[in-house]
Symmetry: C2
């Protein structure tokens, strides 16, 4: 269930903040996977979208988005190369690379279409997932150029910003890594006209001359992680899962209350970082916590034992990680002022390939 | 990717083991959500299927399964009541109840159709999720009977069997809870002709006179959880996720190796019990561990740094919890002897309602 008024406010606030700092906004569409939301982001001034897979790029290209960055070190099979060639005919396409093998394969598999796809070399700014050390970008850029691809610049994902107290430090490391990598590339003869950073926790902090664009995703909806990181407030939560109380635990009158709602890991997702206070939150009951999650049950710990919501009562649940929750449904209810105003298809759901 | 030969062996082995002990097998179909697998389970002697939601029941009833147990304390909206009435016209339907409120609502909402739906009272045998204490079953059964429902018996889910060393103890508690609850019901004038227990870890242990049927689900595929609990072996794993190595970490020659594959939480699910050694396993490399998972990246810790699989190499990943993985795809590749022989639709994917 998406509150479209909150959604629009979140989209406008991020667009405005990024514009003020002279950066380009390229929101990550893996969060929502919904063309109607992409259209709102583009209308608010986004330069294009970020996606994680060729399948997501196909959905958003078909919806009319003509500038897409697949921020992932793709390994191209012949089938994927064919799809990427087709994509490059209808949109401006950039792809991530982080190895000489991957860059060579990308250019070779694209063949004569390599010139119409550009690459950004992925830099590890401290998250230690994919990406090369800033000092190691030149060989990857050279391999890309030698196989016919255009080298547009660099990108990084400061995913280590997802921890309490980390956003500012991660943003600092991001800036440092982008600066260092662009200097190394410049020395090797490559201009980094695109220097892409950002995540929702750092997007408001990314800046200086290091980055030219940011790629936040979760900001459109917010979720329990962002709430607990202090990157959004309860009134910024645009997506919740409607659930019903189905069972009360027999608990002693003096202990904490506990009940079961019919929203489990198959609708909320089961991401739980070590620092999170639980597996999700209730929008209208900030002191309640989801302490356990199975596929169709969430166990809610309730602060006041005497006041458990009745069996049958409906509650609004905030998922821990909203990107996983959206990917579990075919469509979403769109509400405004509490009334259902539309349904949107999650058109890129399950587009992992 | 499902290996149909292993699948068939798993289905036959469980069917045979349950038959030998004189129990009824009612597999939980939430694991696979695939009619072709349900048909194989029924052909191997299952009495019917267990499901978690009305939506799953609708899919399997449409596929011809005529005996379904919705093992969940449903709270019926008018729309759900209508769907359940329709279901009860095409299949023998039982539903879980664990509160007087839920039981009364169920019977009232079904109206004149209440008599064609029976209920099993859910008993908490130690998992402390839904279900009432064995001593507290009588009021729930009475509320069901008073609202026109047939009371068929009791059920429990010994989910606390999902921990090392726990299956035997959980099976013992399950038996004790079923015995105790059926005695309490008998004293209240209700015969428990169906006493349903079982989970994959305990299904081979459930027995005695306590249970009449078991409801294992995961046994058809196995997964990394079952492997680490010792409830299946590597050669019993029937479902894997094909993934490609996309990135190598720069690691010191004397440290452990590390690389990234393109299978993340949007294809594997992100369940990780505290006792699990990681977020998934590699079928062909038993010493490797998935140490981190984001939406499209899995970080693999590799025991021997000098021998990392090449970028571009394909690997078979065992999800931690296979029920979540299947629910993330629209269809599955079916292989036999390494060759693709079919594709099956995950017809009940996303049927949460």
């Amino acid at each position: 269930m998406i509150d479209v008024d909150i959604l629009d406010r979140n989209i406008e606030r991020m667009a405005s903040a990024v514009r003020t700092r002279g950066l380009t906004l390229r929101p990550h569409a893996k969060t929502h996977k919904i063309p109607e939301i992409a259209a709102r982001q583009m209308a608010a001034g986004a330069a294009g979208l970020t996606v994680a897979t060729i399948g997501e790029a196909e959905v958003f290209a078909a919806a009319g988005v003509d500038d897409l960055f697949i921020a992932y070190p793709l390994w191209l099979s012949p089938q994927k190369a064919q799809r990427l060639r087709r994509l490059s005919q209808r949109a401006r396409i950039a792809v991530g690379v982080d190895s000489t093998e991957g860059a060579t394969r990308l250019g070779t598999a694209l063949g004569s279409a390599a010139g119409s796809v550009s690459v950004l070399v992925e830099v590890d700014s401290g998250h230690h997932r994919s990406g090369v050390h800033p000092e190691a970008v030149a060989p990857v850029a050279r391999a890309a150029a030698q196989s016919g691809l255009g080298v547009a610049g660099i990108f990084t994902f400061p995913g280590h910003s997802y921890a309490p107290g980390m956003p500012a430090e991660a943003a600092r490391q991001e800036q440092q890594a982008l600066n260092q990598a662009s200097e190394v590339l410049a020395a090797a003869g490559f201009e980094s006209s695109r220097r892409s950073g950002g995540s929702t926790p750092t997007a408001m902090l990314t800046g200086g001359s290091a980055a030219t664009e940011v790629r936040p995703g979760v900001y459109v909806f917010g979720d329990a992680q962002q709430l607990e990181l202090g990157r959004c407030a309860a009134e910024d939560i645009a997506l919740t899962v409607a659930a019903t109380v189905v069972s009360h635990h027999a608990t002693p009158a003096d202990g904490p209350g506990r009940f079961i709602i019919d929203a489990g890991s198959k609708i909320l997702g089961s991401d739980r970082p070590a620092w999170a206070s639980g597996l999700g939150r209730l929008l209208d009951y900030p002191d309640a916590r989801i302490s356990a999650l199975s596929e169709h049950h969430a166990t809610v710990e309730w602060p006041e034992p005497g006041t458990l919501p009745a069996i049958g009562e409906r509650l609004r649940v905030i998922p821990n990680h909203v990107c996983l929750a959206v990917n579990l449904v075919d469509d979403v209810a769109v509400v405004s002022g509490g009334a259902l105003v539309d349904r949107w298809s999650v058109a890129a759901r399950g587009k992992n390939k």
